[in-house]
Amino acid sequence: MVSCINGILKNLTVGIAGIGGLGSNAAVSLARMGIGRLVLADFDVVDESNLNRQYYMIRHLGMKKAQAIQQVIGDINPQVDVESHDVYVDSHNAPEIFKDADIIIEAFDVASCKAEFVNSILQNTGKKLIAASGLAGLGTANSIVTRKVSERLYIVGDGVSGLSEGEKLLASRVAIAANHQANLAVRLLIGEDI
Protein backbone atom coordinates (compact mmCIF):
# COMPACT_ATOMS: atom_id res chain seq x y z
CA MET A 1 0.00 0.00 0.00
CA VAL A 2 2.70 2.48 1.01
CA SER A 3 4.51 2.27 -2.32
CA CYS A 4 1.51 3.61 -4.25
CA ILE A 5 0.62 6.45 -1.86
CA ASN A 6 2.62 9.02 -3.81
CA GLY A 7 0.73 8.35 -7.00
CA ILE A 8 -2.54 9.05 -5.21
CA LEU A 9 -1.45 11.99 -3.06
CA LYS A 10 0.15 14.00 -5.83
CA ASN A 11 -3.28 14.71 -7.30
CA LEU A 12 -4.93 15.66 -4.00
CA THR A 13 -5.32 18.79 -1.87
CA VAL A 14 -5.36 19.25 1.90
CA GLY A 15 -6.60 22.51 3.43
CA ILE A 16 -5.19 23.67 6.77
CA ALA A 17 -6.85 26.48 8.75
CA GLY A 18 -4.20 28.10 10.94
CA ILE A 19 -0.47 27.51 10.38
CA GLY A 20 0.87 27.79 13.90
CA GLY A 21 1.90 24.83 16.04
CA LEU A 22 -0.57 22.32 14.61
CA GLY A 23 -0.83 23.66 11.10
CA SER A 24 2.86 24.17 10.32
CA ASN A 25 3.81 20.72 11.60
CA ALA A 26 0.93 19.01 9.78
CA ALA A 27 1.80 20.87 6.55
CA VAL A 28 5.44 19.78 6.74
CA SER A 29 4.50 16.12 7.27
CA LEU A 30 2.05 16.21 4.38
CA ALA A 31 4.71 17.83 2.17
CA ARG A 32 7.22 15.12 3.11
CA MET A 33 4.63 12.44 2.28
CA GLY A 34 4.11 13.93 -1.17
CA ILE A 35 0.77 15.71 -1.05
CA GLY A 36 0.16 17.48 -4.35
CA ARG A 37 -1.31 20.70 -3.05
CA LEU A 38 -1.76 22.50 0.25
CA VAL A 39 -4.23 25.34 0.84
CA LEU A 40 -3.12 27.17 3.98
CA ALA A 41 -4.54 30.21 5.76
CA ASP A 42 -3.31 32.37 8.65
CA PHE A 43 -3.23 36.15 9.26
CA ASP A 44 -0.45 36.01 11.84
CA VAL A 45 3.26 36.91 11.86
CA VAL A 46 6.07 34.59 13.08
CA ASP A 47 6.96 35.63 16.64
CA GLU A 48 9.82 34.55 18.90
CA SER A 49 7.29 32.84 21.19
CA ASN A 50 6.31 30.55 18.27
CA LEU A 51 9.74 28.94 17.94
CA ASN A 52 9.13 26.58 20.87
CA ARG A 53 6.73 24.47 18.79
CA GLN A 54 6.03 25.87 15.33
CA TYR A 55 7.92 24.84 12.20
CA TYR A 56 9.62 28.21 11.65
CA MET A 57 13.23 29.37 11.93
CA ILE A 58 14.88 32.42 13.41
CA ARG A 59 15.16 33.87 9.91
CA HIS A 60 11.35 33.89 9.67
CA LEU A 61 10.82 36.20 12.68
CA GLY A 62 8.55 39.10 11.69
CA MET A 63 7.50 37.41 8.46
CA LYS A 64 3.89 36.57 7.70
CA LYS A 65 3.27 32.89 8.40
CA ALA A 66 1.57 32.60 5.00
CA GLN A 67 4.88 33.59 3.41
CA ALA A 68 7.21 31.78 5.82
CA ILE A 69 5.47 28.44 5.32
CA GLN A 70 6.04 28.73 1.57
CA GLN A 71 9.79 28.91 2.24
CA VAL A 72 9.73 26.04 4.73
CA ILE A 73 7.85 23.71 2.40
CA GLY A 74 9.81 24.88 -0.64
CA ASP A 75 13.02 23.89 1.15
CA ILE A 76 11.65 20.40 1.90
CA ASN A 77 9.62 19.45 -1.16
CA PRO A 78 9.38 22.08 -3.91
CA GLN A 79 7.01 19.85 -5.87
CA VAL A 80 4.17 20.71 -3.49
CA ASP A 81 1.88 23.42 -4.85
CA VAL A 82 1.37 25.71 -1.83
CA GLU A 83 -1.52 28.17 -1.94
CA SER A 84 -1.27 30.27 1.23
CA HIS A 85 -3.77 32.92 2.24
CA ASP A 86 -2.73 35.82 4.50
CA VAL A 87 -6.21 36.27 5.91
CA TYR A 88 -8.17 36.01 9.15
CA VAL A 89 -10.36 32.94 8.62
CA ASP A 90 -13.93 33.22 9.91
CA SER A 91 -17.23 31.43 9.37
CA HIS A 92 -17.99 33.56 6.30
CA ASN A 93 -14.80 33.15 4.25
CA ALA A 94 -13.86 29.60 5.36
CA PRO A 95 -15.97 27.64 2.82
CA GLU A 96 -14.61 29.72 -0.09
CA ILE A 97 -10.94 29.54 0.98
CA PHE A 98 -11.05 25.76 1.31
CA LYS A 99 -13.41 25.01 -1.60
CA ASP A 100 -10.76 22.98 -3.47
CA ALA A 101 -9.62 20.91 -0.48
CA ASP A 102 -10.28 17.18 -0.47
CA ILE A 103 -9.80 17.09 3.32
CA ILE A 104 -9.61 19.99 5.80
CA ILE A 105 -7.54 20.23 8.99
CA GLU A 106 -8.58 22.67 11.74
CA ALA A 107 -5.42 24.00 13.36
CA PHE A 108 -6.42 27.15 15.23
CA ASP A 109 -5.36 28.13 18.73
CA VAL A 110 -8.44 29.74 20.29
CA ALA A 111 -11.33 27.46 21.34
CA SER A 112 -14.09 29.71 19.97
CA CYS A 113 -12.29 30.00 16.60
CA LYS A 114 -12.07 26.20 16.43
CA ALA A 115 -15.79 25.84 17.08
CA GLU A 116 -16.75 28.61 14.64
CA PHE A 117 -14.65 27.06 11.88
CA VAL A 118 -15.89 23.51 12.42
CA ASN A 119 -19.52 24.66 12.47
CA SER A 120 -19.04 26.63 9.26
CA ILE A 121 -17.33 23.83 7.32
CA LEU A 122 -19.80 21.16 8.45
CA GLN A 123 -22.82 23.35 7.65
CA ASN A 124 -21.64 24.89 4.39
CA THR A 125 -19.61 22.15 2.71
CA GLY A 126 -19.77 18.39 2.35
CA LYS A 127 -16.11 17.96 3.25
CA LYS A 128 -14.46 15.86 5.95
CA LEU A 129 -12.76 17.79 8.71
CA ILE A 130 -10.03 16.85 11.22
CA ALA A 131 -10.07 19.18 14.24
CA ALA A 132 -7.89 19.22 17.38
CA SER A 133 -8.73 19.81 21.02
CA GLY A 134 -6.63 19.10 24.09
CA LEU A 135 -2.88 19.06 23.41
CA ALA A 136 -1.40 21.55 25.88
CA GLY A 137 0.99 20.67 28.69
CA LEU A 138 3.30 17.75 29.26
CA GLY A 139 0.84 14.96 30.01
CA THR A 140 1.39 11.49 28.65
CA ALA A 141 1.65 11.32 24.88
CA ASN A 142 -0.60 8.27 24.99
CA SER A 143 -3.64 10.36 25.93
CA ILE A 144 -3.65 12.07 22.53
CA VAL A 145 -5.96 10.07 20.32
CA THR A 146 -7.93 10.42 17.09
CA ARG A 147 -11.68 10.04 17.51
CA LYS A 148 -14.41 9.88 14.90
CA VAL A 149 -17.26 12.05 16.18
CA SER A 150 -19.58 11.78 13.19
CA GLU A 151 -19.50 10.86 9.50
CA ARG A 152 -17.49 13.98 8.57
CA LEU A 153 -15.88 15.13 11.83
CA TYR A 154 -12.77 13.72 13.51
CA ILE A 155 -11.14 15.16 16.64
CA VAL A 156 -7.52 14.71 17.69
CA GLY A 157 -6.33 15.36 21.25
CA ASP A 158 -7.03 14.40 24.83
CA GLY A 159 -10.13 16.61 24.87
CA VAL A 160 -9.28 18.35 28.13
CA SER A 161 -5.76 19.87 28.23
CA GLY A 162 -6.41 23.45 27.16
CA LEU A 163 -4.81 26.84 27.61
CA SER A 164 -7.45 27.92 30.11
CA GLU A 165 -6.18 25.30 32.56
CA GLY A 166 -2.93 27.25 32.79
CA GLU A 167 -1.07 24.76 30.64
CA LYS A 168 1.59 25.84 28.16
CA LEU A 169 1.85 24.61 24.62
CA LEU A 170 4.96 22.47 24.19
CA ALA A 171 6.61 21.08 21.10
CA SER A 172 6.18 17.37 21.70
CA ARG A 173 2.44 17.11 22.29
CA VAL A 174 1.62 19.77 19.70
CA ALA A 175 3.63 17.87 17.07
CA ILE A 176 2.06 14.56 18.11
CA ALA A 177 -1.43 16.03 17.62
CA ALA A 178 -0.41 17.67 14.32
CA ASN A 179 0.91 14.36 13.05
CA HIS A 180 -2.26 12.55 14.14
CA GLN A 181 -4.06 15.05 11.92
CA ALA A 182 -1.65 14.61 9.00
CA ASN A 183 -1.76 10.82 9.32
CA LEU A 184 -5.54 10.69 9.33
CA ALA A 185 -5.70 13.11 6.38
CA VAL A 186 -3.54 10.75 4.32
CA ARG A 187 -5.47 7.70 5.46
CA LEU A 188 -8.77 9.29 4.44
CA LEU A 189 -7.31 10.37 1.10
CA ILE A 190 -6.23 6.83 0.25
CA GLY A 191 -9.64 5.45 1.23
CA GLU A 192 -8.86 4.22 4.72
CA ASP A 193 -10.61 5.45 7.88
CA ILE A 194 -9.59 6.03 11.49
Binding site: K114, A115, L122, Q123, A132, S133, A136, I155, L163
Partner: protein
Protein backbone atom coordinates in the same frame (compact mmCIF):
# COMPACT_ATOMS: atom_id res chain seq x y z
CA UNK B 1 -32.13 11.60 25.72
CA UNK B 2 -28.62 10.34 25.01
CA UNK B 3 -25.84 12.95 25.22
CA UNK B 4 -22.33 11.93 24.21
CA UNK B 5 -23.31 8.30 24.51
CA UNK B 6 -24.86 8.57 28.01
CA UNK B 7 -28.55 8.50 28.91
CA UNK B 8 -29.19 11.69 30.89
CA UNK B 9 -32.90 11.18 31.64
CA UNK B 10 -34.01 14.57 30.31
CA UNK B 11 -37.40 15.75 31.53
CA UNK B 12 -39.04 16.55 28.20
CA UNK B 13 -38.75 19.07 25.46
CA UNK B 14 -35.81 21.41 25.89
CA UNK B 15 -33.88 23.51 23.42
CA UNK B 16 -30.22 22.95 22.56
CA UNK B 17 -29.46 26.23 24.34
CA UNK B 18 -31.21 25.07 27.51
CA UNK B 19 -29.35 21.75 27.43
CA UNK B 20 -26.00 23.56 27.09
CA UNK B 21 -26.93 25.88 29.98
CA UNK B 22 -27.93 22.94 32.18
CA UNK B 23 -24.59 21.31 31.44
CA UNK B 24 -22.75 24.62 32.08
CA UNK B 25 -21.20 24.54 28.59
CA UNK B 26 -20.28 27.80 26.84
CA UNK B 27 -22.13 27.77 23.52
CA UNK B 28 -19.33 29.68 21.73
CA UNK B 29 -16.91 26.73 21.98
CA UNK B 30 -19.12 23.86 20.87
CA UNK B 31 -20.31 21.92 17.88
CA UNK B 32 -23.67 20.24 18.46
CA UNK B 33 -25.00 17.33 16.47
CA UNK B 34 -28.57 16.18 17.11
CA UNK B 35 -29.85 13.02 15.45
CA UNK B 36 -27.01 13.07 12.94
CA UNK B 37 -27.55 16.71 11.95
CA UNK B 38 -25.29 19.62 12.80
CA UNK B 39 -27.38 22.19 14.67
CA UNK B 40 -26.68 25.68 13.25
CA UNK B 41 -25.48 28.04 15.98
CA UNK B 42 -28.25 30.54 15.30
CA UNK B 43 -30.84 27.83 15.94
CA UNK B 44 -29.71 26.71 19.42
CA UNK B 45 -32.63 28.56 21.06
CA UNK B 46 -35.32 27.09 18.84
CA UNK B 47 -33.95 23.59 18.08
CA UNK B 48 -35.97 21.33 20.37
CA UNK B 49 -34.79 18.01 21.79
CA UNK B 50 -36.93 15.25 23.29
CA UNK B 51 -36.57 11.93 25.14
CA UNK B 52 -35.58 10.13 21.96
CA UNK B 53 -32.92 12.62 20.84
CA UNK B 54 -29.35 11.50 20.43
CA UNK B 55 -27.03 14.44 20.93
CA UNK B 56 -23.29 14.76 20.46
CA UNK B 57 -21.66 17.86 21.97
CA UNK B 58 -18.05 18.57 21.04
CA UNK B 59 -16.59 21.17 23.38
CA UNK B 60 -13.25 22.63 22.31
CA UNK B 61 -10.35 23.68 24.51
CA UNK B 62 -7.71 26.12 23.27
CA UNK B 63 -4.23 25.33 21.99
CA UNK B 64 -2.69 24.91 18.59
Amino acid sequence: MVVNGKEIGAKGNISVKQLLEEMCIDDSIVVVEADCEIVPREKYEVWMLDEASRVEIVSFVGGG
